[in-house]
């Protein structure tokens, strides 16, 4: 919680700025609409967090989301009864892609940056080949409800987000999360204490794949079927996580802060939109954030290293 405070403060400021321009934002309906829009990215960022905190990257989630949506539309093809089996299949695919990413990264020792970049290309190529660039089929009403409908005034996506958020926080407090964190901080020390480093890392990749599947389910209903639906989401997710103060390279940062980072990013986009700044700038903004956030972390380096050298900070 303490680690999430800075980003939560930024988020509050941005939300206040949005409310200032657009008072509707303060009403429950206005805020819920924002939360609904943010939910897919927040969930994706939570998944990405697990991978980043273990010291790896997952660049494949964007094209995984696209692939999932395209597959869902084609397999469901408007048939209501196909909804649940296909959802189950999407989740299995997400976990499977994560499993492959994780196994290749750990067992074959290929850097995850390369593995998941390769996976990004494999998936987008496969989607293109399969759909010919124009996805066929249609989602069922039941499928779209996750992205559009709600329980009374509260959108399903917000409820799903709350469940995912709670699960993510719980996981990070459980033995899995604690050992994952140590594996990201000092892999060798973790291994020499009996941590199954490969296994926890593979599990982290699978969580990221799972998050991509859930994101795809929400986005399919919310944004509709297209071959561009997941484009660039991997970078948005990484930006969000870094914005939340999670250190690339692993071992530091909280999942709550990563999710708050995703909310903040979404709020920033909303604000830019309200001021009539082109959506085309979104990538530029993300790029600047990533560089600045990582640079800000790097600037602290000398300070960070002092305790390692010896006893400078040891007196207490």
């Amino acid at each position: 919680m303490k680690r999430a405070l800075p980003i939560l403060a930024v988020l509050v400021v941005l939300l206040a700025a949005i409310a200032f321009v657009n008072p509707f934002f303060l009403e429950p309906a206005g805020f819920l609409a924002f939360a609904k829009r943010a939910a897919p990215l927040v969930i994706l960022a939570a998944g990405q967090y697990f991978v980043i905190v273990s010291g790896e990257f997952d660049l494949s989630v964007g094209s995984l989301v696209t692939a999932e949506v395209v597959i869902a539309a084609r397999l469901i093809d408007g048939e209501e009864p196909a909804t649940w089996p296909v959802i189950a299949l999407l989740i299995v695919i997400g976990l499977l892609v994560g499993l492959v990413n994780g196994v290749v990264t750990t067992k074959l020792r290929v850097p995850s940056f390369i593995v998941t970049l390769g996976m990004l290309l494999v998936l987008s190529g496969a989607v293109f080949l399969w759909s010919g660039g124009a996805p066929r089929g249609a989602l069922s009403e039941g499928f779209r409800a996750f992205g559009r409908g709600g329980l009374g005034p509260v959108p399903w996506s917000v409820l799903i987000l709350l469940a995912v958020g709670a699960a993510a926080i719980w996981l990070m407090r459980a033995d899995f999360g604690k050992t994952l964190m140590v594996a990201g901080d000092n892999e060798r020390a973790a291994a020499l204490s009996g941590v199954r480093v490969h296994r926890v890392k593979i599990f982290a990749f699978m969580l990221s794949g799972l998050a991509a599947a859930v994101t795809a389910i929400l986005l399919g209903g919310f944004a509709g079927v297209s071959a561009q639906v997941g484009q660039g989401l991997e970078f948005s997710a990484i930006t969000a996580v870094v914005l939340g103060g999670v250190v690339l390279g692993g071992g530091r940062g909280s999942v709550l802060a990563a999710m708050a980072g995703a909310f903040t990013l979404e709020a920033l986009f909303t604000l830019l939109n309200l001021y009539g700044i082109s959506g085309a700038l979104e990538f530029t903004v993300q790029g600047v954030i990533i560089i600045v956030a990582v640079a800000a972390g790097a600037v602290r380096l000398p300070w960070k290293f002092t305790p390692r050298k010896g006893d400078a900070h040891a007196a207490s």
Partner: protein, 480 residues
């Protein structure tokens, strides 16, 4: 030449130094001793301009000075030689010496001038074993230290600060260091010498300053203090008998090896028994650490027998009740950015141990001070870090605990605490194996000493052997 008055410094509201007075005169070797956490490193960093003091004044040759940057200190003639050298391994000696200020002629680096100047300084130090064109990666640690000193001299340093310079050196290399420091003294260069090793302080220093808890306790000419007095001043109490008494009760065999070996070890026969501390001696590269890692399962034995069974992985080792306190705490032991609690619970979490609340008692038992669980481990002193590693293994109540250099980089007070704990654990029935390159520790602690040479057991000695007896077994050439 250097005079500091009333130096104080705080980090994040924690007071690390207060009211430090320190004078260093030209041509003097001035030792600074103190436990880890006493403030030695912080003081050094202030002298070298890495940190700015919050209060107090620094004068050089009577002129008040303030360093905003390490370069300011360098221009004032102060050079520091860190424990870890700042050398580029692929570059030559001369290139390293003149790094960043290469002599230039017609827009090109003047290699000849650079190499001649380096050669001259090497000669002055009486160092003939390597030349200025040698690549640094080919040099031994001791020779690299020479390069660092040459570098310091080439900027006309008048004060050289050395942080634990002997820590990385082998016994015979320390003599070279002594000689170098002698040369520096002859040239009128002042040396500020930080070390845990009191013998070196007595061999080298003209005066010694004792720091404790961020304050200066005293400064004495070296002839006016004894080793025991220094220790008492550092820890604030009389250590008396340095090592805990040996136990008498050796119990059942917990682990035994018959002809065990792997790529580094051959034909190891060894028994570890309940209640006993077995010391392992040997030179660098004799296979000491490999023996511990093989028993533990991290680099498993590939041949021979081990009872109760031969672990093929760390997890199998842990399941057999074997724990390993590794040699290198920072690289292999701790997750420095995680809390004390998360580090102490690592093994329990990795293998699904159930008792999580007991960790508080364990941290008290290992005498972690203060026993705060939420502190980041990276901020602790070496001794406290080692106690956290120890607590981590105690969570699983091991049957056999292996220690690889348990007190390296640990201050005197924590050292005694760790020794006491090891004996306590043995008395509780644990079988303990301790690797150490510090012979007094090995002799003082062990009930039996196994000496390794070239991956084999060269011999076993009963409790309390002489240093010579150990060295005779460890070094092959003395055998004849």
């Amino acid at each position: 030449m250097l005079s500091m008055r009333g130096i104080g410094k705080s980090f994040l509201g924690v007071r690390v130094l207060s009211g430090i007075d320190l004078d260093v005169t030209a041509g003097e070797v001035h030792a600074v001793v103190g436990e880890n956490g006493a403030g030695k490193s912080t003081l050094m960093k202030i002298i070298c301009g890495v940190h700015a003091p919050d209060e107090g004044t620094i004068e050089i040759d009577g002129r008040p000075t303030s360093f905003g940057h390490p370069l300011d200190a360098q221009r004032s003639g102060i050079a520091i030689i860190y424990q870890e050298f700042n050398l580029l391994p692929e570059r030559t000696v001369a290139e390293n010496v003149f790094l960043g200020r290469e002599p230039v002629r017609r827009g090109l680096v003047d290699r000849t001038a650079m190499e001649q100047a380096t050669e001259r300084l090497l000669d002055e130090l009486g160092e003939g074993s390597f030349g200025p064109r040698e690549a640094v990666k080919r040099l031994s640690v001791a020779q690299q230290q020479v390069v660092e000193i040459v570098k310091a001299l080439s900027v006309n340093a008048r004060l050289v600060v050395m942080d634990e310079p002997s820590a990385a050196l082998a016994e015979h290399e320390v003599e070279l260091l002594y000689r170098l420091i002698g040369r520096l003294r002859e040239r009128g260069v002042a040396v500020l010498y930080i070390s845990h090793r009191l013998r070196e302080v007595f061999d080298l220093a003209d005066r010694v300053t004792v720091l404790k808890d961020g304050s200066r306790v005293t400064t004495h000419p070296i002839g006016e203090v004894t080793s025991d007095e220094l220790i008492r001043l550092m820890v604030g109490r009389d250590l008396g008998t340095y090592f805990p008494p040996r136990s008498s009760g050796v119990g059942e065999t917990r682990l035994s090896l018959r002809g065990a070996g792997n790529h580094k070890l051959r034909g190891i026969d060894l028994e570890l028994r309940s209640g006993e501390i077995v010391g392992v001696a040997g030179l660098q590269g004799s296979g000491r650490s490999e023996l511990a890692k093989a028993i533990f399962g991290a680099e498993p034995f590939t041949e021979g027998e081990m009872t109760p069974s031969r672990p093929r992985s760390v997890r199998e080792g842990v399941a057999l009740g074997i724990g390993l306190v590794t040699e290198d705490r920072k690289a292999e032991g701790l997750a420095l950015h995680q809390s004390v609690r998360d580090n102490a619970l690592l093994v329990a979490r990795a293998v699904g141990g159930k008792d999580r609340d007991g960790v508080h008692d364990l941290l008290e038992r290992v005498r972690l001070s203060p026993p705060r669980q939420d502190q980041e481990v990276g901020y602790l002193s070496g001794g406290n870090q080692q106690k956290v590693v120890l607590a981590r293994w105690m969570t699983m109540a091991p049957r056999v605990l292996l220690f690889d250099e348990p007190t390296r980089g640990v201050d005197v007070g924590a050292k005694a605490a760790i020794h006491d704990l090891m004996r306590e654990l043995a008395n509780d029935g644990m079988a303990i194996m301790m690797i150490s390159s510090e012979l007094p520790e090995l002799i003082g602690m062990s009930d039996r000493i196994v000496v390794l040479r070239d991956g084999r057991i060269a011999g076993t000695l009963p409790a309390g052997p002489s240093e010579e007896a150990i060295m005779r077994l460890a070094a092959a050439e003395v055998v004849s």
